[in-house]
């Protein structure tokens, strides 16, 4: 099985148009309202780095569990992991926006605030940047190694590379759970430096995994529509959507666990976070839309096994989930940085720009290698998969 993805010129034109829209949105944003533009920059950075880190996590899980059903599709998460170096560059740009986004980076604010002084050994700019660099170095190296081994397997075959890749996957799972949790604290939770929640890290980790699997499925379905992945059957779709369904339940569980404990304990320093979202004008609708879109709608739609095997329901649910992840991050980031709710061209245009970069990178790396890992030991099992 040897086939390469051919990208049409229309794809390139499309992504460049999206990137141009994003550039316009960010340039007008940085001139007009820098805080809002930086908040948006952070949101999109986190959004797409979550997708690619989540994709590499999915890939690692397939490696560790030696899954047969997904063996034919692993080039898709591999290509999504290749977005990480680009994300690193975009995150480094964010160093210029620290003052606009993070309250704890203002020296005069820290001077009058005992809580921030207490947290200063952790929340300070050099350490923040240092942690970020460490995270990205680890993620990029491990993701590159996974892809490198996978491509070498195509040429050499045999089992030794498969075992090595499995080992790297174990390391990656260990690394990503710790680093992604800390990254969530650093990048998002520190926007409200007086507030803290231990479930926050896990919730965002699950969210990243959840939406990354949705995107992987979507890319596979789209490519299938253009004639690639001829071996895709209802059984594969069933497994993909079982993944999405399972993560949907876990996401809803963590969202509710975080909310319920804070709501029930009713401690002012914790509830302030939810009051400024759940009871503030403009944010209320996004707060409730978050749980409805990310949990309720997919949960209800995907409950019957028949709809989990259907391409149409997947194509309806996944775009809803992509909007859902935007809303999830929007509710987390914007009330702390901007305060007032104003969703407009800045946010949507910026998102389209980032989506253009992501599509360009993933499409490019997908087209660079054979679309199916032909020497993967479980390839045959993937072709014969039946549930």
């Amino acid at each position: 099985m040897e086939e390469r993805l051919k990208l049409s010129s229309l794809f390139f034109i499309g992504t460049f148009v999206l990137i141009a829209i994003g550039l316009v949105a960010f340039i007008t944003g940085f001139i007009g309202d820098p805080e809002r533009a930086w908040a948006n920059f952070l949101l999109n950075n986190v959004y797409f780095v979550s997708l690619s880190a989540g994709a590499v996590l999915f890939l690692s899980l397939q490696r560790v569990t030696q899954s047969g059903w997904s063996a034919g599709f692993i080039r898709v998460p591999e290509a999504m992991g290749m977005y990480l170096p680009v994300a690193a560059v975009l995150f480094i740009v964010m160093i210029f926006g620290i003052q606009s986004i993070y309250h704890w980076s203002h020296a005069d604010a820290v001077a009058h605030d005992p809580i921030l002084q207490h947290k200063q050994p952790y929340l300070n700019v050099p350490f923040w940047v240092g942690r970020m660099v460490v995270f990205f170095v680890l993620w990029i190296v491990l993701a590159q190694m996974l892809r490198h081994y996978s491509l070498r397997e195509d040429e050499e075959g045999g089992l030794s590379i498969f075992r090595k890749a499995e080992h790297i996957a174990k390391v990656f799972i260990f690394v990503i759970i710790i680093t992604f949790s800390v990254a969530g604290f650093d990048w998002i939770m520190s926007i409200d430096p007086h507030w803290y929640s231990a479930l926050f890290a896990l919730k965002n980790f699950v969210s990243a995994f959840y939406h990354a699997v949705a995107i992987i499925t979507f890319i596979v379905l789209l490519l299938n529509q253009f004639g690639y992945f001829p071996f895709l059957t209802k059984s594969h779709m069933h497994d993909f959507s079982s993944y999405i369904f399972m993560l949907c339940i876990i996401w809803g569980y963590f969202w509710f666990a975080e909310f319920m404990l804070i709501w029930y304990a009713n401690i002012p320093e914790e509830t302030s976070y939810f009051i400024s979202r759940m009871q503030a004008d403009g944010w209320r609708i996004f707060f409730f839309a978050n749980i409805v879109i990310n949990w309720f709608i997919p949960f209800v739609i995907m409950m019957p096994a028949a709809s989990r095997r259907s391409e149409i329901t997947l194509k309806i649910v996944i775009p809803i989930l992509l909007v859902g992840m935007f809303i999830d991050l929007y509710v987390q980031i914007f009330p702390g940085v901007v305060g007032k709710q104003m969703l407009g061209f800045n946010e949507i245009g910026g998102f389209l720009g980032f989506a253009g970069i992501f599509m360009l990178v993933v499409g490019y790396y997908l087209s660079r290698a054979n679309l199916y890992p032909k020497n993967h030991p479980y390839m045959e099992e993937c072709l014969e998969h039946h549930v």
């Binding site: 909310f259 319920m260 709501w263 029930y264 009713n266 409950m303 096994a305 039946h386 549930v387």
Partner: protein, 169 residues
């Protein structure tokens, strides 16, 4: 237990021969009353043509349980005996959810189990016939009702399809 030889049993040694025989027998429109295999075989599960509505029924059990638990909590905490817990409202919906989830799962499990047991005629002190000792081990067994099949034709067919044993029971 009735033991006056109502069944014909075909025993196969492997999955392939069984699946092949299963296909051929269906093509010949011979009614198969049951298949016993050491592990589930998709082809047999799907080709069997029997549908179970227990999943749909479980969904309704869940709906019933969730509504029942919620209304019970609402009745006790709001209507019948409202108490003041640290100034919280009596009708505290988020705090009802956890117990609703737990009791819903419990009810669905128990009710589905009972439904299944009744439908499969499994209850204490019931003796189920074992058609072939190897069916849980390494043999693949097809069961036919004697009244519904043409005996001579079936036995010949089973032999042609590679059955290692043909028993009447």
């Amino acid at each position: 237990m009735k033991n006056d030889k109502q069944h014909i049993i075909g025993v196969f040694d492997g999955e392939e021969t069984l699946v092949n025989a299963f296909r051929e027998l269906k093509k010949e429109k011979i009614e198969i009353s049951d298949v016993f295999t050491p592990f589930p075989i998709h082809e047999v599960l799907e080709g069997h043509g029997r549908k179970s509505n227990i999943i749909t029924l479980s969904w309704f059990f869940g709906l019933f349980a969730a509504l029942a638990v919620l209304s019970f909590l609402y009745y006790t905490a709001v209507v019948d005996w409202p108490l003041n817990y640290g100034g919280k409202p009596s009708s505290a919906f988020p705090s009802f959810i956890v117990i609703t989830i737990v009791l819903t799962i419990f009810s669905v499990t128990i009710l589905s189990l009972f439904t299944f047991s009744v439908r499969a005629k499994l209850w204490p002190n019931i003796e189920k016939p074992i058609y072939h000792d190897g069916a849980t081990d390494d043999k693949f067994v097809i069961l036919f009702d004697k009244d519904k099949v043409d005996e001579g034709k079936l036995k010949k067919l089973l032999k042609d399809l590679g059955a290692t044993e043909i028993i009447e029971k």
